[in-house]
Every structure is written in structure tokens, then in C-alpha cells.
């Protein structure tokens, strides 16, 4: 496996006091979609801005395709594409004019410009809106235009900072279907940040959970979920819950048993719910317990976040996020 992004012990301190990154190390492999998941202020944007050569780190080093991001910033810039967290299109120009400007900045040969621009606009479904002034685009269309811009130089690595923030589910889905099509056409690695759990779960090959400027866990979504060891089996029966608990506790692989909050049923925490459920059923049968219902629960990334960061991501972000989305939308006007 080839590591295309290599980050070693990166530290960033803003204004001598704000420790936004506190020793980050990670490796991103060629061709994968790597996610950075974390709450507001975790340092996601800071990391992306350092890797895209906008700001220097306070300490540590990083390499993009073997190029040092500080000493060889010029070379790095030719290899990457970038969509910032903020909506960054020039709203007073048309979509085509936006594309034309970036194709020139990225040294697309003049003979190829028109074709490449049209291809990119077509890919994100904006070809018919090419000559409309961007002010009149929807938020999702602006995002798609930004993605089209970011791929004009066929980058090897694409950095996406919260690519779907503020979009409704159908808008988010559209962005990802365009991106996956893109990845089929060009060999590309994506590093993205998000704080949408479901999105991180669905689209990333691997992800890092980042909190207070530190990476607290790295792995594929399923590895991370497994690592929390929070799978469980919930049994509802007529028998008194203490009896059920006693029976379940006798199984070696059951780690803990709890009463459900509503008093209906007992939950047993296990490492692998699918394997456990078979033995649980047979044991309950042996003890002639009349099972009314039985369910298996898999951990979500929420549980992962809870396990590693000690807080629930949704709780810490929802209010702030709403404010941020509003801010982003205001800026677009």
C-alpha cells in the first residue's frame, strides 16, 4: 500500500495560545476516501489548511506524495484540489467564468480548457447552468461548482472540508454520487472532514476521530464500531428481569447486563451480537424462558465517538452547527 499523505506529529498553535492541533500523525493510502470526524473546534479545518499549504504548522511535518508541504509547497499545489469549508465561488460571475479562471490558474492548456470545463460541469450536472451568474445558484449547485473547479487540474488528492455542510439529504446524496463517479474516472484520493456521522459511515473507507487537536482513533468505520465492543442483545420476556439477568450472566462472553430504561427487557453487552444471539436463545430455551422479542444492536459511530471522546458528538455540535450553517448561507448572498 502506498501512503500518499503522511503526517508526522503536527502541531498548530494560533496566536501563541490556541492549541488547535496537538500532535497529529496519520497516513492516508492511495485511492481511499479518508474522513476526519470531529466536533466544532476539533482542528479539522486547521489540519486541512496546513496540508493544502495555506498556513505553516507550528511543529511537526507533513508530506503529500512525498513532497514536503513547506519546502516544496509549489509542487504540492500542483498535485492537489481543494474545496474549502466556506462557499468560495465568485458569485458575481457565471459558472463558466469561474471555471475559466481556475483553469488558467491551474495551467490547463488553452486548447483543452473548453473541453475540460464542459466535462467537469457536465459531471456535476451544471452544464446547462454554465452561463448563469452564480448568485442565482442554490447552495447545492454552488458546492457542485466548487467540486468541478477543484478537479479542473485532475488532482491526485482532493481535500474536501465539510463538502456537504448545509445541504439537505438529497443535495448530499447528489454530491456523493458525483464524487464517486469522479473517482471512477480519475485515480484520486480524497481527504474529507465532516461531522455528519451517517455520511462518515457511508462514504469513507477509513476515518480518524479527532477531538481537541488529537486523533483518538483511526480505522475503517466497521473496525471502529467493533472496537467499542458495544454490541448488544436485548431480550423481552414475561420472566422477572432479575432471573433473566442471572441466566445471561452465566454466559462467559456476556460482559454486562442491564435493565432497559423502560423496564421492558434486559440488555446484554457482548463482543459479537450475531454469535452471541444463538447461544443466548438456546440457553433461554433450556431454562424454558418464554421470549417475547429479541433484538440485536450494533454500535453506531455515535457510540464510537462516545467511547473515544467521552462526549456525544451530536449534543456538542447541533446548536453550533446550526449557527455555522446559517453563517455560511448568509455569506453566500
Amino acid at each position: 500500500m502506498n501512503s500518499v499523505i503522511s503526517v508526522k506529529n503536527l502541531v498548530k498553535v494560533y496566536d501563541k495560545v490556541v492549541r488547535a492541533l496537538n500532535g497529529i500523525s496519520l497516513e492516508v493510502q492511495e485511492g481511499e476516501i479518508f474522513g476526519l470526524l470531529g466536533p466544532n473546534g476539533a482542528g479539522k479545518t486547521t489540519l486541512v489548511r496546513i496540508l493544502t499549504t495555506q498556513i505553516p504548522p507550528t511543529g511537526g511535518e507533513a508530506f503529500i506524495l512525498g513532497k514536503n508541504i513547506i519546502e516544496e509547497a509549489d509542487k504540492v499545489r500542483e498535485l492537489i484540489g481543494y474545496v474549502p469549508q466556506e462557499i468560495s465561488v465568485m458569485t458575481d460571475l457565471t459558472g463558466y467564468e469561474n471555471m475559466l479562471f481556475y483553469s488558467k490558474l491551474y495551467d490547463v492548456p488553452s486548447s483543452e480548457r473548453k473541453r475540460r470545463i464542459e466535462n467537469a460541469l457536465n459531471l456535476v450536472g451544471l452544464l446547462d447552468k454554465a452561463n448563469v451568474v452564480v448568485k442565482n445558484y442554490s447552495g447545492g449547485m454552488m458546492r457542485r461548482l466548487e467540486i468541478a473547479q477543484a478537479i479542473i487540474n485532475y488532482p491526485k488528492i482532493l481535500f474536501l472540508d465539510e463538502p456537504t455542510i448545509g445541504l439537505d439529504p438529497s443535495g448530499r446524496k447528489a454530491i456523493w454520487s458525483y464524487l464517486s463517479q469522479l473517482m471512477e474516472e480519475h485515480e484520486m484520493t480524497i481527504l474529507m472532514t465532516t461531522h455528519y456521522m451517517d455520511e462518515a459511515d457511508m462514504v469513507t473507507d477509513r476515518l480518524a476521530i479527532i477531538n481537541f487537536g488529537k486523533i483518538v482513533a483511526v480505522g475503517t468505520p466497521s473496525e471502529l464500531k467493533k472496537s467499542t465492543k458495544l454490541e448488544s442483545v436485548t431480550i423481552v420476556s414475561k420472566l422477572h428481569s432479575n432471573e433473566v439477568k442471572k441466566i445471561l450472566s452465566s454466559l462467559p462472553f456476556v460482559k454486562q447486563v442491564y435493565d432497559e430504561e423502560d423496564g421492558k427487557g434486559v440488555t446484554a453487552y457482548v463482543e459479537n451480537a450475531e454469535e452471541a444471539v444463538v447461544e443466548i436463545i438456546s440457553l433461554l430455551k433450556e431454562n424454558s424462558v418464554n421470549v417475547e422479542s429479541l433484538s440485536m444492536n450494533k454500535p453506531t459511530l455515535d457510540d464510537v465517538f462516545l467511547a473515544y471522546a467521552g462526549t456525544k458528538l451530536e449534543e456538542t455540535t447541533s446548536a453550533l452547527e446550526a449557527r455555522k450553517i446559517r453563517r455560511t448561507m448568509q455569506r453566500m448572498r
Binding site: T52, T53, Q54, E86, Y102, K104, Q149
Partner: protein
């Protein structure tokens, strides 16, 4: 290498031209104030007979001054647009593109020059309609345009430097007026330096605005080019220094 540099600066200028084409109202609203100076203030002041140059009316005398005041105002807000573009993310994207920082600063500075040229054309056209006789010598006009571009680029760079110190839009807002108005009144824009008290004379002689006005007045109104080499020299030094400073501090806007 150099052609690549120039191409990228040109790409930025093209964007500015396209912006102006998409929305021309700003050019027109910014022409209102100069026209009030030329069309209302000047005819009244005419009676004071302060103009020392033969065959030049007061209206003609202040036209280059008012023009320079107007383009100063246009340029001094480029730093604000840079802050604005940073808040939007446009600037972040420029910084990630394979373009050198100095090309970005020069691109921004010359964009101000492009807008300054358009603004000047409108003011000159309206001044003509009001009865100002402009020297229609293409060579003179070309030199005048060159002076306008240098001057705008210098003020835009100065503005980018100020933006790198202030960093937020709110803090920047008042600065435009606070810089341009004193420079305007402490120059030869609307009265000859000879009429000023000594302390103001001293200020006016080191004020780059005076040299832009003097040069434009020579090229557009009097046709007496004696001072023009000095005016160009001062403007060139002014723009060179401000561009270098702006390039050095540009990165701090994003931090």
C-alpha cells in the same frame, strides 16, 4: 516561468473586467461625487480666481484632482475585498492554487488599476459634457492611463498591507475615509500648493496624491509636461514600495 507569471496576473485582471461588465452600477454611483465637485462646487469657486494657470478654468483645474480622489477611494477598499474574500473562502482557494504570492498581490493591485481606468473614463466623459476641455492626444492619454494604473496599484497594495494588520472587516470599515480625505485636502487636488500655509505645503509635497494630480493635470489639461518625469518617478517608487510591503504581509491576512 515569467510568461506563466504574467498569464496568471492577466487571468486575475480578466476576472476584474468580467466583474465590471456584469455589474456596472458601482461605476456609475461612484461617479456621482466627482460630478458634484466638477459640476457644482467648481462653478461657484470659479469666482475666487485661484487658478494660476492661464486659460484654465477652475473646473478644468480640479478635474484631475477629483479624478484622483475618486480612484484613491476605489483602490483603498481593495484590502477590504481581500478580507471579504478570505471570509468567503475565495482567498483560501487562491492560496492553494499554483500561483506565487506576489503574483496574487500584483494581480489584486492591477485589478484596482483596471477598475480605476474604467472609473476615470466615466468621469472624463462626464467632465467633457460639463465643458471641461481634455487634451485629446492619444500619447498623452496613454501616459495618463499608465499613471492612473500605477497610482491605483499603489493604493490597493497599501490597502492590502493595512488589511493584513487589521484583519477584520469591522476594523477596516472606517479606515478608507480616514486615509483618503486627509490626503485629498492635503494635496494640490482642489487648490494650488502656492496658496497653502507652510505646514500644509510641506505635507502636500510628500503626499503621493499631489504627484498623481500634477501628472494628470499636465497630461489632460495644461499640456505642459515639465513636471511629468518627476511625477512618474515618484509614483513608480510609491507603487514599488507598497507592492513589496503588501507581498511580504499578504500571508498574514489568512493566518
Amino acid at each position: 516561468m515569467l510568461t506563466n507569471y504574467v498569464e496568471k496576473v492577466l487571468a486575475m485582471l480578466e476576472v476584474e473586467v468580467r466583474r465590471i461588465m456584469h455589474d456596472r452600477t458601482e461605476l456609475y454611483t461612484r461617479a456621482v461625487q466627482p460630478i458634484l465637485w466638477i459640476g457644482v462646487f467648481a462653478p461657484v469657486m470659479e469666482k475666487l480666481r485661484v487658478v494660476p494657470i492661464p486659460n484654465v478654468t477652475y473646473m478644468e483645474f480640479i478635474t484631475p484632482g477629483v479624478l484622483v480622489q475618486s480612484i484613491t477611494f476605489v483602490s483603498i477598499f481593495y484590502g477590504l475585498t481581500v478580507i471579504w474574500e478570505r471570509d468567503l473562502g475565495v482567498l483560501n482557494k487562491l492560496l492553494v492554487a499554483p500561483v506565487s504570492r506576489s503574483a496574487l498581490v500584483i494581480g489584486k493591485a492591477l485589478s484596482a488599476g483596471v477598475r480605476g481606468i474604467f472609473q476615470s473614463l466615466i468621469i472624463i466623459l462626464l467632465a467633457e459634457l460639463l465643458g471641461v476641455r481634455i487634451i485629446l492626444n492619444p500619447f498623452y492619454l496613454l501616459l495618463a492611463a499608465f499613471l492612473v494604473v500605477m497610482f491605483c496599484a499603489a493604493f490597493a497594495s497599501l490597502s492590502i498591507f493595512i488589511a493584513s494588520l487589521l484583519k477584520t472587516r469591522e476594523r477596516f470599515m472606517g479606515i478608507g475615509q480616514a486615509i483618503t480625505m486627509p490626503l485629498f485636502f492635503a494635496s494640490n487636488a482642489i487648490y494650488p500648493i502656492a496658496l497653502m500655509p507652510n505646514w500644509l505645503k510641506a505635507v502636500a509635497t510628500v503626499n503621493p496624491l499631489s504627484y498623481a494630480v500634477e501628472g494628470l493635470r499636465a497630461l489632460m489639461i495644461t499640456g505642459d509636461l515639465a513636471t511629468v518625469p518627476l511625477d512618474f518617478l515618484v509614483s513608480f517608487i510609491f507603487v514599488a514600495i507598497t507592492i513589496v510591503i503588501a507581498s511580504q504581509t499578504f500571508n498574514r491576512i489568512i493566518e
